[in-house]
Every structure is written in C-alpha cells, then in structure tokens.
C-alpha cells in the first residue's frame, strides 16, 4: 500500500489552524507532511502530528535574487531543515540551484513575472538530474489562478515536465495549501498530473515514492555520523 506525503503545506501562522490542517491531512490519507516555514517545526508539533499518525518534517522555501544570496542562504539553512526548496526567479539562480547538491526541490513561477518566464529548460533539467534535485508541481499554482490563466499555467507546467522527464529529473506533486480549504486528497493531487502528460503510476509516485525518497535521504544526511552519501561514522569501530 502506498504511503502518501505532501511536501508543501504552508505554515498558516496560527497553531490552531495548523492542527486543523494536520487532522485533515490524516483524514485525507497522508502519512507525512512538510510544513514550509521560516523556522524549523518545533518538537511539540512533531509529537502532536505523530499522535495523528503523521510524520512531520520542516521545509524552507528560499527566494534568492542572485547566486550569492542563494549560497549564503543554503549555508545558513541546510543543517536546520529537512527539505530545502528554491524558487527560481531568474535564470542565474535556477542554474546555480540546479547544480547545488544542497537543494532538494526546484520551483518555478507558473506565469510570466517579467519579460519572459523562468522555466526548467533542457540545460537546467540536465544539471538538476545530476545533482538529484526534484521539480515540484504545486496544486496551489492552479487553484490560485483564474480560469483564463489556468490554461497558460498548464502549458508552462507541461513544458517544464516534458524537459524534466526527458532528462530524468524526478517530478513531485504537492498541494501548497495555506488553509484547510485548499487541501486535497493525495489521489486528487496525483490526478492533476494527468493534465500534464504524466502516467497514472508516475502521478501516484509523485505524491508517494519521490517525496519519501527525498525525506529519507535528507534525514540520513542530518544524522550526526553522516560524512557524505554512502559514508558515515560508526561508533565503536576504532
């Protein structure tokens, strides 16, 4: 049986609403949630989530304006958060983020922000595949857009996913919900990927296998004995 994980629930700011969201997530069938916030999730929240059968992780979303800001921010947050996502708002940042092994998830604006839209192009996807960065599809991008914009968002996401699949970049899907009303069940999030040309199994993997892999890999990295992938200190060997 699949274990579903939503790696992008935005911190609503109020603990009461957050608890409501955790309860709803449990009811909807999620086994794991990552809260996107400026500060790591406190242990009390994790304990509360565990009683509901949810594994809580903390995520940070970086919005650097240039590559220097990105490097500084990564140095500051990498050891504090389980998931690090970078919003690529210009091409230089997107290239640097795609190259950096400390970045877990790449997100792109769904619509044009300036003269042209920064997207996951083939070169960026190739770099992301080498550094094991995942591309994120957020349901909130579609929910927050008007009916007219939705068509454009779908075209843009489809193009990005085509590049991601071609270069072997893992694609993950999440809700991006900041309120309980914006939360959807895992299969609904997976079904959105059907609009983007992803097969049913890959769509379900995008809300289960891929986020779980990212979470497990990063938790292993955050363990005290970790040296580098595949190498860790073992107590009592020397």
């Amino acid at each position: 049986m699949r274990r579903f994980v939503d790696l992008n629930i935005r911190d609503p700011g109020e603990p009461r609403v957050l608890m409501e969201m955790l309860e709803l997530a449990s009811k909807l069938g999620f086994k794991g949630i990552a809260i996107a916030s400026e500060r790591p999730a406190p242990q009390a929240w994790r304990d509360e989530a565990r009683t509901l059968g949810i594994d809580l992780a903390s995520r940070v979303d970086l919005r650097p304006r240039n590559t220097n800001e990105l490097s500084k921010a990564l140095r500051r947050v990498r050891r504090k958060f389980e998931i690090v996502a970078v919003h690529c708002e210009n091409k230089a940042v997107s290239r640097q983020a795609a190259k950096d092994h400390r970045v877990d998830i790449l997100t792109f604006p769904p619509l044009k922000t300036g003269r042209s839209r920064v997207s996951l192009d083939r070169q960026g996807a190739s770099l992301a595949a080498k550094s094991n960065c995942a591309y994120e599809v957020s349901l909130s991008d579609l929910l927050d857009s008007s009916a007219d914009e939705r068509a454009r968002v779908l075209v843009n996401l489809k193009r990005d996913i085509w590049n991601a699949e071609r270069e072997g970049v893992p694609v993950l899907a999440s809700s991006g919900a900041a309120t309980p009303l914006r939360m959807r069940e895992p299969r609904a999030i997976a079904s959105i990927t059907s609009l983007l040309g992803i097969s049913e199994d890959q769509g379900l993997d995008a809300v289960s296998v891929i986020p779980i892999k990212i979470l497990e890999r990063n938790r292993a990295k955050l363990e005290p004995g970790f040296v580098s992938p595949g190498v860790r200190e073992v107590e009592g060997c020397l």
Binding site: L28, L139, L142, L143, A147, R150, P180, L181, R182, M183, R184, E185, R187, A188, I189, S191, I192, S194, L195, E200, G203
Partner: protein, 108 residues
C-alpha cells in the same frame, strides 16, 4: 444478444466550506468545473453527473465515464468555489457500482 454498456465509475464526494448548497448548485459547479478544464468536448467524454447529494451531510455521489476517472478527479480538485462561496470538493471513495460505494462508505 446482450450489449456491453459504457463503463462508469461512481465517486463519493464530500463538500467543505461555505454555506449549505442545494443539489442544483453542486451539479452546476460540477459541470462548470469540467467545462472550464476540458471544454464542451470534454464534458461529452467525461459524462459527469451528480447522482445524489445530501444537503445535510454535504455528501454526494458523482458518476463519470470509467476511462476518464482521473480527469474527473482533477476537475473536482480544481473546484474552489460554489455559488461565489469558497468551497472544496474531496473524493472519499470510488467504485464501479453505487451499491459497493455505499457499502464501502458504511464500513469506514
């Protein structure tokens, strides 16, 4: 000679947010969501239909073409308002017959 009918899928839905909605309002929202996402041609392919809706429990059953179940789920997921009120439609179960859908819902 028996003729095989078109395959259908029944989805149990549950509404969240806003006021109490009438069956007509939910049905309209359902059609509108499919039409906005897939167009009139899509409506003919998905064949969406609200089979029943209980205003008190805010639960209902939606029927669609079996080969388009994923698209139907996507259209339902993208409903954000019903009659100008914020709302969410969530699928709580899916089955090939109304009988087994209700039996599954009762056993949960």
């Amino acid at each position: 000679m028996p003729v095989r009918g078109t395959g259908r899928r029944y989805l149990a839905i549950s509404l969240d947010g806003g006021d109490a909605y009438s069956e007509q309002e939910v049905s309209d929202a359902l059609y509108q969501a499919v039409r906005e996402l897939f167009g009139y041609f899509g409506v003919s392919g998905l064949q969406p239909r609200l089979i029943e809706y209980d205003e008190e429990t805010r639960k209902g059953i939606v029927r669609c073409s079996r080969s388009h179940t994923r698209e139907m789920r996507a259209a339902l997921a993208l409903i954000t308002e019903i009659s100008n009120n914020d709302a969410a439609v969530r699928v709580t179960g899916a089955s090939g017959t109304i009988k087994s859908l209700k039996a599954n819902a009762a056993s949960k």
